[in-house]
């Protein structure tokens, strides 16, 4: 079962961002969680970078296709709204790739109001 979950994560994590194709959804911290349910359904949670993100639909389709290609017949791509994404969710690997492509990785995101951003 653990191996299956890993296979699911790897499939979902291989999907690249539509606008920054050198980064994967895992690098960007958009891929939040995966789970293989008892009935075999592959569940994948992704989070929008901002509320109106028009690329989210495309990402859902891409994840769905990648997970199916990895051998899962039943796939559910779900939205995770909380905790809200900030640039702090970009992984070290994501930051390395941004630098490599001439984009300065963002610094620490400001803590605002009662925003429940990821704890360090």
């Amino acid at each position: 079962m653990v191996a299956t979950r890993e296979r699911l994560w790897e499939a979902a994590a291989s999907v690249t961002d539509p606008e920054l194709p050198m980064l994967t959804l895992a690098d960007l911290g958009i891929l939040r969680e995966v789970a293989v349910q008892e009935d075999g359904t592959a569940a994948v949670w992704i989070t929008p970078t901002y509320s109106g993100c028009p690329a989210l639909t495309e990402m859902r389709v891409d994840v769905d296709r990648a997970v199916r290609a990895a051998g899962f017949d039943r796939v559910e791509v779900r939205t995770a709204l909380s905790p809200a994404w900030t640039t702090d969710w970009i992984t070290d690997e994501g930051r390395r790739k941004l630098t490599e492509h001439g984009i300065s990785p963002p610094g620490e995101a400001p803590r605002r109001g009662r925003d429940r951003s990821r704890s360090p």
Binding site: A43, W45, P48, Y50, S51, G52, C53, P54, T57, E58, R60, V61, D62, D64, R65, E76, V77, R78, T79, A80, L81, S82, P83, A84, W85, T86, A109, P110, R112, G113, R114, D115, R116
Partner: protein, 292 residues
């Protein structure tokens, strides 16, 4: 690729859905979110409340879109379009939540495209004519300060979906306010001409600000349940913020927000809303069978 029709050939190389994201069933803004209503929360009231907050965002977003191709500089055009897109995103989530909470199963499009003006619950400030750039700055200064104060509190809402939508919105609204504060300072403390234009804009906007703080009975009820925010409770905080910004911009300290009664929240609108919605809703109503 078939040679006879290059367009068909190109299309066939992709599996339609993946390329265009049409007809994928992935259109719901809240797909896969646990939408269970917490015990003790009145779903019908929550739905109306989500429409109030969602309609403010949807209508202001549509107003801001009027700057696209018409802003003073490309940089500002992109910024205003981004603010409009953030608000549209907030509206989508809130209206999707409304359709779940009232049990009607209506989706965000049903709310956005198939309600008439008297069923919209936005405040008049959001539907007022676009005006000049100074007017956009004055409007957004008050509106983003108000919305940021409300959403910051809503991040602790007893409805976890509303709380998550608000927590996400806080980051966006903080940027909106940062953007208009910078322009308030630049215009107010700029040339005598820019100062005067902004002073006029603030004076024009001011009579519309009081409605934001008029408590609707439904807001009072939801605030008592820990679900919503009584807008009267943010009046002092928002006034303090706006006063600080305007004063720093060398503009006169503003009057208190005028005392006003609920209007837009009850579907009573100015004549400016109907033409705005006509433009927003036209395609969807002419082609009700269309999907995108």
């Amino acid at each position: 690729m078939s040679g006879e029709n290059i367009f068909t050939g190109l299309t066939e190389e992709h599996d339609g859905d993946a390329r265009w994201a049409f007809g994928t069933g992935f259109t719901e803004a809240l797909a896969g979110v646990d939408t269970t209503l917490p015990a003790g929360v009145d779903g019908a009231d929550l739905a109306v409340y989500c429409q109030m907050l969602g309609d403010d965002a949807l209508v202001q977003s549509q107003r801001l879109v009027q700057w696209v191709t018409d802003a003073p500089e490309l940089e500002e055009e992109v910024a205003l379009a981004n603010i409009a897109l953030d608000l549209l995103g907030q509206a989508r989530l809130l209206l999707a939540r409304a359709g779940q909470a009232d049990g009607s199963g209506r989706d965000e499009d049903a709310f956005a495209y198939h309600r008439d003006p008297e069923h919209f619950r936005n405040v008049h400030l959001t539907e007022a004519p676009r005006g000049d750039f100074a007017r956009a700055v004055a409007t957004l200064l008050v509106l983003s300060s108000w919305r940021l104060a409300v959403f910051t509190r809503l991040a602790d809402s007893a409805d976890p979906v509303l709380a998550a939508i608000a927590a996400k919105g806080v980051n966006e609204l903080a940027y909106h306010r940062e953007y208009v504060v910078a322009w308030t300072l630049r215009l107010g403390d700029g040339t005598p001409y820019s100062h005067e234009r902004l002073r006029t804009a603030v004076a024009d906007v001011w009579p519309l600000t009081g409605e934001l703080f008029a408590t609707h009975p439904l807001e009072a009820a939801l605030a008592a349940q820990g679900v919503g925010v009584d807008p009267a409770s943010v009046r002092d905080e928002v006034h303090e913020v706006v006063t600080r910004v305007l004063t720093a911009a060398t503009l006169p300290a503003p009057e208190p927000f005028p005392g006003q009664t609920v209007a837009g929240r009850d579907g009573e609108h100015s004549a400016h809303l109907a033409p705005l919605l006509e433009e927003l809703q036209r395609v969807a109503r002419e082609h009700p069978e269309a999907t995108w």
